[in-house]
Symmetry: C2
Subunit: 506 residues, 2 copies
């Protein structure tokens, strides 16, 4: 059984998140089950001390502080952990406040299949204690999806006639549902369409947010197919302390960054839920159809909703489901309801689409296929949370070349050794090194990447040198993005966001 | 505590219903808590036998069968009731299958305020064991509304400058919320608008369905104000085994009957939820605002939803709430959100608007005011259900003069005595006589009505004569309606149902 906790006020869950699509705080209050007295420590107080101490250790390590100082801090951390276990009867897990109750996530049929050491992945929270990040092979088993193996990558190459995108070559899009079926049909000249999205919780987008869009653009190009992009401003309104106007403004601002990824205006429709729900009777009809076929029991099991959640949250999953059905977009597909949908998204969004795939046949629609990505790590490491409110947790799309340089040098968690001598002698650990992880996302050249890995592991490449390569990779990438975004006018956004016919063959 | 049960498949709850707006079956399965074996009777089997026997008794009485025959049937009924109490531990209540669980309706703060003898009134089921119908004074106390007293009726007359409608003179609109406030503002030249609605569960509408519309038209005329009419076709889709297309078609058909009531096209907007949600971003914004401020716990308390209900039902109350806010209709009111709404409706709809009034100030809107009507009785009596699927339970708007005559003569429950001699001697009971009740709804002349009551009570007026007066009242009323409906063209419906500006002063 997995535990998901995000108490109001704690907020800062350990999290490796790629899309931030649905990063939202459940507003569950955490019960004090134990001692609350003066001298004694409540589970919550202990948890907070532990979190602070963990931050302290990380800060010291990042700052390459004196070894003795680091070790002393680690000792305090370990003592607190022992104390925590005595009080709560369970292991401390960074980012997970003491439990109020247990919530099952993942495949509901696989109840009990996950152990306490498992990672926790759902649309609102992703936690892991492993510095390498989430164990994705385990996730495939738990979610019941399929691995993107070499055979599938080869097949995509064959069918598309293009070299597979680096995200496919490197296992960043690592899991799928029904991709072979999509390719089977495509080979028989039956087309499909793409659907992805974003939860516009702020204006600020970071490089991690681009991952699904970079990949989706590639899919659009090589398969020559339409794309719909859902901006769930209604969801953000329901989950966050934001006004409708704010959420809608964020949606439009985020649309600019999405457009700057280079999508084809003749094949791309971007929509705000708040706008599109009120301008497409067919979309609302599909929302209601899904809502009729999903019970509160089901969303409780899938998303961990409680009786204290507002009815908007409870019914929202149907709104994220509806774009999976082609007749939600009559301006593009007419009345056709049989056009297959392919959804590229981060794996934390899978619960929405497991639900959608469960409902689809019952309302006479094909199940959407999926391609799942791994999470994009925070600069501080794959087991910490990337937060739009913490400017140092990632590289933002608005960062200057200097900011990029400083952030990478100062904050990117290093797998290198403490001294040059040690590093030369023992080599670095690329598997936990965030700079290297970022390069796997953004450096196109496979051979160069492999050489960097080998040199870093052997000790030939120093941390500073590795960081320099990353800086020189990110600076032009971000600069180009900023240049492209500058040319995205309000009129262009308006065009992309207007329901209209798209180029669609068959 | 009140009990509300409507098991799937039972359907036929004892019910006196005026609007049928939300007549829907909860699809809760009824647990067999007791013996299910061959010889033994399960609570459910007993319940079904009791229901059948009750029908038998009523049929015999209606048919004025031999006294001995009636008494024998009543004896069987009483024996079954004793048996039922032994098996279930509680009194048999017509229309209420053996309970699965208890659901509180009415004021949630008044938990425990209602006793087992109380009537049960909620949007999906209205039950009473009293032949006179629901005890409305008790309902006012339980719901926390205010009585429409002579002072209010006089005030409406003064402010409107018109003789009060017979529904006001006769206590048919018997309860209200904030009517004095509406009149205060109106006197200061601050206008308001009307909102009412209907759940289009079938094409067939009966005379009872007209009550809120007849009264609303009167209000529109005397106050010269806009009206919005919501057809909750989405709700019917969620609750009933109907397709979206069927529900939408029923909405359009029902709109024709509503238009035939004579509403002013320059001041009336009729909308299907399925259409309007998809054509008004501002309406959806208000729906989401309400959805953010109501929890599952709240709708559970107010409407008795369970974890097995679909998420569409759970979030639907927000859709019935949204038209209470003027900026849901920017085509009529622009961006103004401060225009007071007055909702004339049957009292069973009050739970929706208690919820709405609770939310309104929290989202910066004025609370809607309400005028509540009593229920329109079935021909078979005020404690039985009027059903669109039972042609004999009411007078339908499509009935011919001959059908009207036959139905009234054959099915209208009589408060008269069994023989002319007895009737002349002891007089009839107008309070339980359905023909007399119908006349209170449809006979305009107060003096004539009072004379009928006196003559019937004294025995001067026989049941047959009373029924004749009703027949002669209903026949021209229905004929006129049919004539008007004939002239409602598809184009006219289209016009009424198109979002557009209306005549609205200030």
């Amino acid at each position: 059984m997995l535990q998901v906790y995000s108490g109001e006020g704690f907020g800062e869950n350990t999290r490796a998140d790629a899309t931030d699509r649905c990063l939202s705080e459940h507003t569950r209050s955490v019960k004090m089950t134990d001692c609350d007295g003066e001298g004694a420590q409540s589970p919550l107080q202990l948890f907070e001390r532990l979190t602070a101490q963990g931050d302290q250790v990380r800060t010291l390590k990042t700052a390459k502080a004196d070894k003795g100082e680091v070790e002393a801090a680690v000792q305090i951390l370990l003592q607190l952990k022992v104390q925590y276990k005595q009080v709560t009867g369970q292991e401390y897990k960074a980012g997970c406040p003491p439990p109020e109750n247990l919530i099952l996530t993942g495949n509901s049929s696989a109840a009990g299949g996950a152990t306490e050491e498992d990672d926790d992945v759902n649309p609102w929270s992703v936690t892991t204690t492993n510095a390498k990040g989430v164990d994705y092979d385990k996730l495939i088993l738990r979610f019941g999806s399929s691995k993107v193996d070499q055979e599938l990558v080869d097949r995509i190459e064959k069918v598309s006639g293009q070299k597979p995108h680096r995200f496919l070559r490197r296992g960043i899009f690592f899991s799928h549902r029904d991709m072979h079926q999509v390719l089977d049909s495509y080979e028989k000249h039956k087309s499909f369409y793409l659907y992805t999205g974003r939860g516009p919780s702020s204006e600020a987008m970071h490089v991690g947010h681009l991952i699904p869009f970079i990949f989706t653009k590639w899919l659009q190009d090589v398969f020559d197919i339409p794309l719909v992009v859902q901006l769930t401003d209604d969801e953000k309104f329901l989950w966050k302390d934001l006004s409708l106007e704010q959420c809608h403004r964020f949606a439009v601002e985020n649309a600019k960054d999405i457009i700057a990824c280079g999508f084809d205006i003749n094949k791309t429709f971007i929509f705000s839920d708040l706008d599109y729900m009120g301008s497409s009777p067919q979309f609302y009809r599909n929302v209601v159809k899904v809502q009729k076929h999903v019970t509160f029991n089901q969303v409780k099991g899938i998303f961990g909703f409680t009786d204290s959640d507002c009815i908007g949250k409870i019914s929202f999953p149907a709104i994220q489901a509806a774009p999976s059905f082609s007749n939600s977009f009559p301006q593009i597909f007419g009345e056709r309801k049989d056009i297959q949908c392919l959804i590229p998204c981060a794996i934390d969004q899978d619960p929405y689409f497991r639900m959608t795939r469960d409902v689809a046949p019952r309302i006479g629609y094909p199940k959407p296929a999926l391609l799942h990505s791994t999470f994009f790590p925070a600069l501080q490491g794959a087991q910490t949370k990337m937060s739009a409110s913490d400017a140092n947790s990632s590289i933002f799309l608005t960062d200057s070349p200097k900011q990029i340089k400083n952030k990478v040098n100062k904050h990117a968690f290093s797998g290198g050794k403490d001294t040059v001598e040690e590093h030369r002698q023992f080599g670095g650990n690329a598997e936990v090194d965030v700079s290297f992880m970022y390069l796997t996302f953004f450096l196109e050249d496979d051979e160069q990447l492999e050489k960097i890995r080998q040199d870093y592991t052997s000790g030939a490449l120093l941390t500073g040198e590795l960081k320099k390569i990353l800086i020189e990779t990110l600076q032009p990438l971000i600069a180009t993005h900023q240049e492209r975004r500058k040319h995205v006018t309000d009129e262009l956004v308006q065009q992309f966001m207007t329901p209209r016919p798209l180029n669609f063959n068959k």
